[in-house]
């Protein structure tokens, strides 16, 4: 098995060198750990993925950011060999998802969006079971899961079904890590988890990254995007942009203002009527207003709004976040 791996890696290197010589673009001598080339997948008449291509480098914490129904889970299911793509090729850890699916299955960890461990087995039994089917033991890779598993170890005789949401998530992560995977696929791990646990979870992901595990994580929460090394914005089965969160934000060149007032709903509809306002969306307690020119001043806008009957309006310039960029990109 390990010999096979080496051989495979070897041939990959040769392939990359050829690429390098021919195109001089790919300066790395290794294929990216996860590589998708124009993947398409349709469920009946619904096109879930359209020509999706992504590359995840070894050791990266890569975020797939998009709303529900964007195709994130479909892409994960293709990469974890659960379903076949209609078109396109992908490799994970150098293995083809169709031809070498067996090798992928023993070398990746997958944590589906829904808790999918045995609810009627205890915490310890679940972990032992998954260690066994991967041909390993808890002791062998204990150092990898130690930080996570220690938090649920006091409850190891409790049935998985009786755990709280946060503990279930930690158990699922432990089970996905027990065989020391090279790539970890986490499908919406923080959906339905409280803000404190979410923060804690991202801390765990950073620790895992430091141990050299490549992590591909999907999330509908834009605020989590800035915690990734690189992100791909995806919607309606298409990748909008792939870059580091910092670059994506810095490429946002419009002026962005935050606006707060008493009657937020009327404020939103009124602001959208202003000729200099490109778009206006509500973000929590603030409206994010994007301007289409830099001629407008905050005082001018305040006066304009008070003419519409809005008093006590506060306007302040803000730094764009990933969500603003996402909104801007989806509009295009």
């Amino acid at each position: 098995m390990s010999q096979n791996n080496e051989l495979k890696a070897d041939s990959n290197c040769q392939l990359s060198i050829v690429n390098y010589q021919l195109s001089s673009v790919n300066c790395q001598l290794q294929l990216p750990t996860v590589n998708c080339k124009s993947i398409s997948k349709a469920y009946g008449s619904v096109q879930a993925l359209k020509e999706v291509s992504i590359d995840v480098e070894a050791g990266e914490l890569y975020g797939l950011i998009g709303p529900d129904g964007a195709g994130k889970t479909t892409l994960f299911r293709i990469l974890t060999t659960l379903i076949l793509a209609d078109k396109g090729t992908s490799t994970v850890g150098g293995f083809d998802v169709v031809k070498d699916y067996k090798k992928i299955r023993s070398s990746v960890g997958y944590m589906p969006g829904r808790f999918s461990l045995y609810q009627d087995l205890t915490v310890e039994e679940n972990l032992t079971f998954f260690a066994n089917v991967f041909g390993t033991t808890i002791e062998e890779n204990y150092d990898l899961i130690k930080d996570i598993y220690q938090q649920i170890e006091p409850f190891k005789t409790r049935r998985a079904g009786a755990l709280s949401g946060g503990m279930k998530q930690k158990l699922a992560l432990s089970c996905a890590l027990i065989h020391k995977p090279t790539v970890l696929f986490l499908d919406e791990p923080t959906t339905g988890v409280d803000p404190v646990s979410r923060k804690e979870f991202w801390g765990m992901l950073r620790n895992l990254k430091e141990q050299g595990i490549t992590i591909l994580v999907s999330t509908p929460y834009m605020d989590e995007a800035s915690l990734c090394d690189r992100i791909a914005l995806i919607t309606n089965g298409q990748i909008l942009k792939v870059d580091t969160p910092q670059n994506i934000v810095s490429q946002f060149d419009n002026i962005l203002w935050g606006v707060r007032g008493n009657n937020m709903h009327k404020l939103l509809t009124d602001l959208r009527l202003h000729p200099s306002v490109e778009s206006c969306f509500s973000f929590g307690d603030t409206l994010h207003v994007m301007l289409n020119n830099n001629a407008l001043t905050t005082t001018a806008l305040t006066t304009w709004l008070s003419g519409k009957g809005h008093q006590d309006v506060t306007i302040f310039p803000i730094e764009p976040n990933v969500e603003d960029c996402f909104m801007e990109l989806t509009k295009q």
Binding site: T80, T81, L82, K102, R105, S106, V108, Y110, P112, R114, F115, S116, L117, Y118, Q119, D120, L121, E125, F129, F130, N132, V133, F134, G135, R159
Partner: protein, 371 residues
Amino acid sequence: MIKYLIEKEFKQISRNPFLPRLIMFYPLVVLLIFPWAATYEIRNINLCVVDNDHTTYSQQLTEKAVSSGYFKLTAFEPTYQQAMQQIESKRANVILEIPPHFERDLINRQSANVLIASNAVNGTVGGLSSEYMADIVTDFSSQIRHEWQQTGKEPPSVPTIEVVSQNRFNPFLNYKLFMIPAMMVLVLTIMTGFLPALNIVSEKEAGTMEQINVTPVPKFTFIFSKLLSYWLIGFFVISVSFLVAWIVYGFVPAGHLSTMYAFAGIYILAVSGMGLVISNYSDTMQQALFVIFFFMIVLILLSGLFTPVNSMPGWAQWVAAFNPLKYFIQVMRSVYMKGSGFVDLIPQFLALVGFAAFFNLWAVISYRKSN
């Protein structure tokens, strides 16, 4: 690897609040209660007598009917019309009308008529109760003739032919002996055909199937580990059934246990294949349950469990020919009662092997398609 999978399966079964009890008690309940309840012997038939004769012989006939144990005398009515009212109000099932001059006719003409009327809303009860009554009347007449012969009153003018029937393989027409082997088949069908199917669908529904598919466990190994667990349970259950039949009813198979175990093995393959087909086409437990429910009724009714397949109309016999239950019930009954060996059961063997091959092939093909 399969060792861990089976270990997991048994852990889960033992944790289930319902399954261990089902596995333990279902065979017991089926074998201890059903044979008593599912019987064609009809007793306690309500009898209404219309005695227009009021003589010794007419009273003797009434007494004989009641003392047979089949009939319970509920009313004496003066006229047939009033007796009919008893039937209409469901207080009686059968009317025995003894005509006037019954005794006189019997002595003078050596023959007399009686009227037997029975409520045939339930055809079986109606038919059987008038048959019982006719038997009693025939018996009564031969009894009288015997008496006359002994007392020399009247020489037998008519030579009588007595038919002595001998019931082979079940001399006392014990209905339980007929039902118990068939009940074992029913238990085995549920344990090894439908339980694993439901188990597989439940893993699909819970999403654990998907999690397992991203491990090195091959899909076929995973499903095989489930089947194997239930096969073990199936053999355990059928052994318990043999024990119950022996301890409670004193029934020991006339044939070899090994013949039954061998056939059980093939039958288990066939029904678990059928279960797999159902599981492949179902995404939820509810769907699977409805499909199983539908097939279970058809399979039981057309299996010869209660009503003999030979007395069904032609088309029903055709349908029954595709029912694996039918063949295994035949096997169990003939091994238990007639002591048939393997050679006698070759047609059933071929049919069951055919079913096993057919269902498992279908299961594999439909599984490939749905994934």
